[in-house]
Amino acid sequence: MLLNKAKHHTKKGFPTAKLSGVVLLLLAVIIASFWHLSLGAKNIDWLTIWQALTAYNPLDSDQAIIRESRQARLLVALVVGAALALAGVIMQAISSNPLADPGLLGINSGAAFFVVASVLFLPMFGPHYLPVFAFLGAAVATFIVMLLAGWEQNSERLVLAGVAVTAIFSAMTAILLLIDQQGLDKLRHWLTGAIGASDLVKLNLVYPYLIVAMICCFALVRSLNAFHLGARVAEGLGVNVLFLKISGLGLVVVLSGSVVAVAGPIGFVGLVIPHMARLLVRNNYIWLFLYSLLLGALLLIVSDIAARVIFSPYEINTGIITAFVGAPVFIALVLRKMK
């Protein structure tokens, strides 16, 4: 009955407000993208960017800069932001926990450890296997976190389990890097979440997985909406809760594993974005997913701009910026929710 009611509610009027929100966000993403493309060692005006994107003339050096180097970075930022935000929404939904985030729970560092290990010790597997190793690591970390925290809805325990798992994996990564010092020099940028060091080749490796995972997210919308009312209600409405949780975790593993394979472990996007999205739309997961997707892309583009602008000739890794943005939000959440 509840589901019927919900259906009725959504079908009642055309959701003008929500759709216009999506359009506005889309506009914001596009503006941010243009801004992102225009900034750099050489500032390029927006008209040239437009020409580079619509009528590309490879002889013009400015247009070549846009198409050859900056476009790749923008695409990586967009995809990474969107994927992490979706992973965060799913993680928070299935663990019924406002503090869940693939970075905070050690999933990213698990994936990072497996990637580092495979790069250093199994070089015979080509780059095509990189995402697979990342998925494997993410899955192992997820499994351990769930083992430690259990299914009970206890934020604090889940976060602490995540801290323990992060400690384990980052220490093991540190050992690997101490053993292989050349590896440290090669990988230390990647390890803090570097979008700049990434390129389209890496994105090409993971995008089939990402697209499938994102579509599957939208397939889970109805079960997630029901699950939001509580596990029992969801079961009453015919949702297989165990299947929902396992498939949700699988999606999180694929999404955050791909991100780690592309850009290294970037934390806190998955924590912050769902909360921002929830300020804009209530808990209807289809809108939550759409908004988070756009907001995540927006946040990552803006942090990437900040990462390049703050210490101008140098650039900071994007993962560090997101941590500086995300950690205060996390603290504010704790202060507000844990009364």
């Binding site: 604090e156 220490a171 390890l191 704790v334 844990m338």
Partner: protein
């Protein structure tokens, strides 16, 4: 748990002071003391220069009659390192017991109160951004101050709207991750040579410990460790819940900040000596709890002994297994301790 009085021993350390102790607890304490001593002795014998057990015994107790070279190897290189390892392990283990009992959470660890992150960030600033401003001898002191500062910040933030252990821990997680982002920034952009030595220290490495540091550490440890042990009755009650403790005459508002201060002192002194040994404070109390459950009178000394054993073992393994290369003790401990910890925790959940 059988509470038969036959298992109790009455100990009178001073006239008019009577301690009731279980004989099993005492037995375990003796066992682990012996274990610690033997691990220490083993650590003294092994290394890139092997010295036989008998010989090192002689060198330690009658150094006059032995050749100078061997005496130097043991007394100048190995013993300070071993003692520092034991003290750091013990200090972190006690800090871990305190935090796990205050927060009533099996997954709490000394790293969570921000001391380690604060100390590492400070250390990295002075090692990577402005090297050679502060002499190496004073670096640990700076690390300690940094750790203290961060711990105070976390405490202030979390008790702004009334104290709660959960909030303390979660805010610790937030601040720690912000600080580690900062440290990572320094690691990524610093000079690679400086970064490598800093990473060695961050991983919990004991290879540059001097007797001076051991003495300083000893003073901190003895003072705050004893104070912590004297609070065992309060800790026993706090485990049962803040309200129960309050009803039994434990003033939470005074006791908990005091205990937190003790754990900050213990953690920061060990961070200053040996860098971050993240895992000891988490795992040593759990091992100890298997032998004496939540009786803090025995739990505190027992986990101190176990923590000491763990770090000494980790350090000795770290410097011998990959022999020319020295792995920091903290990292060895994670490798060995992590699987054990995961199994332990998953087993705890089932009961």
């Amino acid at each position: 748990m059988n509470m038969l009085p036959a298992h109790f021993l009455r100990i009178k350390p001073f006239p008019r002071v009577v301690l009731h102790a279980r004989s099993s607890d005492i037995a375990w304490l003796i066992c682990f003391t012996i274990l610690l001593l033997s691990v220490l002795l083993w650590g003294a014998t092994t290394g890139s220069y092997q010295i036989s057990l008998f010989k090192s015994w002689h060198i330690i107790f009658t150094p006059e009659s032995e050749p100078d070279k061997l005496v130097r190897v043991i007394w100048e290189f190995r013993l300070p390192r071993l003692f520092a390892a034991a003290l750091c392990g013990a200090a972190l283990a006690i800090a871990g017991v305190i935090l796990q009992s205050i927060t009533r959470n099996a997954l709490a660890s000394p790293g969570l109160i921000g001391v380690e992150a604060g100390a590492s960030a400070t250390m990295l600033i002075f090692m990577v951004i402005i090297p050679e401003v502060i002499p190496a001898l004073w670096l640990p002191v700076c690390a300690m101050l940094g750790g203290f500062f961060v711990a105070v910040c976390i405490w202030a933030l979390s008790s702004r709207a009334g104290y709660s252990p959960i909030r303390l821990v979660l805010i610790g997680v937030g601040i720690t991750s912000m600080l580690s982002a900062f440290s990572e920034m320094l690691i990524t952009y610093g000079d690679i040579e400086l970064v490598e030595s800093a990473l060695m220290w961050l991983g919990g490495s004991l290879h540059q410990v001097s007797w001076l540091q051991v003495e300083a550490m000893m003073i901190w440890f003895v003072v705050s460790g004893t104070l912590a042990w004297l609070c065992f009755r309060q800790l026993n009650l706090l485990v049962l819940g803040d309200k129960v403790a309050f009803s039994r005459g434990v003033d939470n508002r005074k006791v908990i900040p005091f205990l937190l201060l003790l754990s900050v002192v213990l953690t920061s002194s060990s961070v200053a000596t040996a860098g971050t040994l993240t895992f000891v404070g988490l795992i040593a109390p759990h091992i100890a709890r298997r032998f004496c459950s939540d009786r803090h009178g025995a739990l505190i000394p027992l986990s101190a002994l176990i923590g000491a054993c763990l770090v000494v073992l980790g350090d000795t393994l770290g410097r011998t297994v990959f022999s020319p290369l020295q792995l920091p003790a903290g990292l060895v401990l994670v490798l060995v301790g992590a699987p054990y910890f995961i199994i332990l925790m998953s087993r705890l959940r089932k009961t």
